[in-house]
Symmetry: C2
């Protein structure tokens, strides 16, 4: 494909993308295919000779689309949202063309620098404490990770390193393996499975703190566990607080937990993967109060801030804590430069343009900050706030509908764009309802379990979801519920 | 931005991308900016109100381009290549529009399934042993990771888990921390720094095996270290072999190392990040002989196979080894599904469409296999082979130029697209030459260190590099060398 053909095909693809998103609500939101459907639709081997673009493009509808769960359909209410906006798609086209691999400042200065400045922009939008910003002289700063799972892991590794060093400075003879075997990390029993997984990867003990009746961890619950563990000779080193849990969007009490962590020398990381975007609205910012006690904070603009995947933003108070976790001290760095033949030209890296590869698991990275820059400028803070507020209002609208139908109950407080609800009745009944909903394929939901109860989650997801979609969804759900209850009574 | 505006702006962006790539050689390959250049060029905060697209787009040339290292300029000979092709950019636009997050089969069946089939296609192109393919009934299979660093880490974690389990099955009372403190992982002293970093993350000892005079690890060198370590009570569990090292593109002798690893129960992972793409050519496939002894194999199509970043392909012989490393056994999985409210609909996941999130560090993922599908079909195997062969031929052409100039020497065998060379003389002299080259900004190179010598690396990188660029580069280098030598003699 030469440049001339790319000009033509690229413009066709722009139209295909526009058509797809413009007409997405006419597509069935969840596919009909069975596992293994795709293999038989395409050859077993790559072609020896080139095929034409027409050959490829006609297979999009024949092979790919029948197996797509349409996350951007306004009838998609499952999981949490994933972002999609036109400015982000445009920025990503540019990122693909530039195609730099930003593992160091020299590898593409703009890539590192725009990222640092965008994380300051976003930090200011969230009204993060000054310490988290890179500014021109701070010790903190932000970085884009691929996913919240990576941020959780990076924070855990930094915390592990900090605690090991601290203990070794008091007791240089103590074997590192002995220290690590005593370390214990904590999270809510409502926390995402990636937190437990970070513990597994880091080879440390992980303990879940019981949440309260509103699915939040209180300071008292943490304190009780800490006392048990310290009495047993363990070394608490990391607490991953969740703001906006996956099951029910519950918020841990970081104003209570934070001071305890600070006193005990425990690294507090905040995972606000979904909810974090809402904190750009002053009315939701109080949910982030207590962030001043945190060592690191992360959320996913790729969920709810209109920046396409992947873009998970993470701030730390002290960059050197993160860098130390990967043992990239100046000496090693220098050695590394000489040995590997890369990053060599700019060993004089300025603190504020420090090679970002020392903040993350992968070495390479796309030019992801372009997406943030395009989206923030073309929406403006006001436009982004409008997007958040619209989704929250739609969730409240759905909640109100549920509340007037006496057959149903709300299962958790509705704070942002997620409504947890269920039929009054058994888990089996609710499981049967969900099965009917998802089998009908008109909308798509996933469940969760709260206090042993099977609960349906209704998350406002698509950028284009409007009141009529929520109303239609509820009419559909109640109709299926009526049919189900009639069937059960028989 | 509404759909109508996206149609217009998207087409303008296609033209911008086409213009950028068509005229890239007229741009200065390496930028003039100093660290911190960007911050002063843009506002300190995100705008309150939306800006127009014109505002944004004019800043591409004003703010971004002055800080770009142009990786796709035919005068870029630094690091290793990173891929860029029109079919991949088109596929990525589609991926952005679909915007699914493929963490489970149900989250978008096509995303998981196309990936599995594409990895089989590519595995067949490489003539990988059948055991590495998913096929319809195998135990092995492939997955796309973000980077080779992640693949190295995932393999190390799987190896750690396998060895711990094996030892616990013989001696169930032995503390896990004691086992982990005795584990030792190995790689060449030429291996990429990400291997050492994987050891740090996994909390295991890491030891470098001395390479021979051609910068390759031989079986004998490994055997010697293993004997020492076993005698010291350590437990060897992981060897990361490199095919195509970063400094000089050297190849470890996996036909010698592999049988030792198999006998000793050591997991052999192969990191062929750069060189792997070449193995689709029958004449280079012998470099992969011995892969039959490996437990896992990884390379980056996003380096040299025309699939834009990120696309790092990894195959394992036994999928359950990887899944076990993240302790995602069926019971836990089931628990996880109920708790998190995600992945719930398809707990009956077929073995061949197993949720890919259990193979990797991040949970979410873009629809990356679309890029492979577009590129492989539009180039065909033949077109991809032509691309590899052209780059190797250009490297040989450069090598021949170096060899006829008696002031220079070749520092390592030229096997693929990388030439390591230097002026006969001191390290300082060569460092001075590199400085002159990079200061002139006409081409871009990075150095490496081989056996204590400062060496210049000339890597053929851009898709559009032709003989004339190589000839010009050499004329330029020799002219600068002449000036330098004249200056030194004075």
């Amino acid at each position: 494909m030469d440049t001339a053909e790319f000009r033509r095909r690229g413009k066709e693809m722009v139209d295909y993308v526009a058509d797809y998103l413009e007409n997405i609500e006419k597509r069935q939101v969840y596919p009909d295919v069975e596992p293994g459907y795709l293999r038989s639709l395409i050859p077993e081997e790559a072609p020896e000779q080139p095929e034409t673009y027409e050959d490829v493009v006609k297979d999009i509808e024949r092979v790919v689309m029948p197996g797509i769960t349409h996350w951007h359909s306004p009838y998609f209410f499952a999981y949490f949202p994933t972002a999609n906006s036109f400015p982000a798609i445009l920025a990503d086209m540019l990122s693909g063309a530039i195609g730099c691999v930003g593992f160091s400042w020299a590898a593409s200065p703009a890539c590192t620098e725009l990222e640092t400045v965008m994380l300051d922009w976003l930090g200011k939008m969230l009204n993060l404490p000054e310490e988290f910003l890179a500014g021109t002289k701070g010790k903190g700063g932000g970085v884009i990770q691929g996913t919240a799972s990576e941020a959780t892991l990076v924070a855990l590794l930094a915390a592990r390193c900090r605690m090991v060093k601290r203990i070794l400075s008091d007791d240089p003879e103590r074997p590192e393996a002995d220290i690590i075997s005593k370390l214990v990390a904590y999270s809510s029993d409502q926390a995402h499975s990636s937190v437990e997984r970070a513990g597994l990867i880091g080879g440390v003990r992980m303990r879940k703190i019981p949440s309260d009746s509103k699915f939040s961890v209180r300071g008292e619950a943490l304190r009780k566990v800490l006392e048990e563990d310290k009495a047993a000779g363990l070394i608490p080193f990391y607490f991953c607080a969740t703001l906006g849990t996956t099951p029910s969007c519950a918020f841990d009490y970081i104003t209570e937990i934070g001071p305890i962590c600070n006193t005990e020398g425990i690294w507090m990381h905040i995972d606000a993967a979904y909810a974090g975007s809402a904190f750009i609205c002053p009315e939701f910012r109080p949910l982030l109060d207590g962030v001043e006690f945190a060592d690191s904070f992360n959320f996913n603009p790729h969920k709810w801030l209109l920046v396409n995947f992947d873009c998970s933003t993470m701030w730390v108070k002290n960059r050197t804590d993160i860098i130390a976790a990967f043992k990239m001290d100046p000496l090693y760095l220098k050695h590394d430069h000489q040995e590997s033949g890369i990053h060599t030209l700019h060993t004089h890296t300025h603190t504020h343009t420090h090679s970002i590869c020392h903040w993350q698991i992968p070495l390479g990275r796309r030019f992801r900050s372009l997406k943030i820059w395009f989206v923030f400028r073309m929406y403006g803070l006001r436009g982004l706030q409008d997007h958040i507020r619209k989704h929250v209002a739609l969730a409240k609208e759905f909640e109100a509908l549920v509340r007037v139908d006496e057959r149903f109950q709300i299962s958790a407080e509705v704070v942002l764009g997620l409504v947890c609800f269920r039929l009054k009745g058994s888990n089996d009944l609710n499981e049967a309802l969900l099965k009917r909903i998802n089998s009908a394929r008109r909308i798509h939901l996933v469940p969760c379990q709260l206090s042993g109860r099977f609960v349906l989650r209704f998350a406002v997801c698509a950028r284009t979801t409007e009141s009529r979609h929520v109303q239609e969804a509820w009419a559909h759900i109640t109709q299926l519920a009526t049919e189900l209850l009639r069937h059960v009574e028989r």
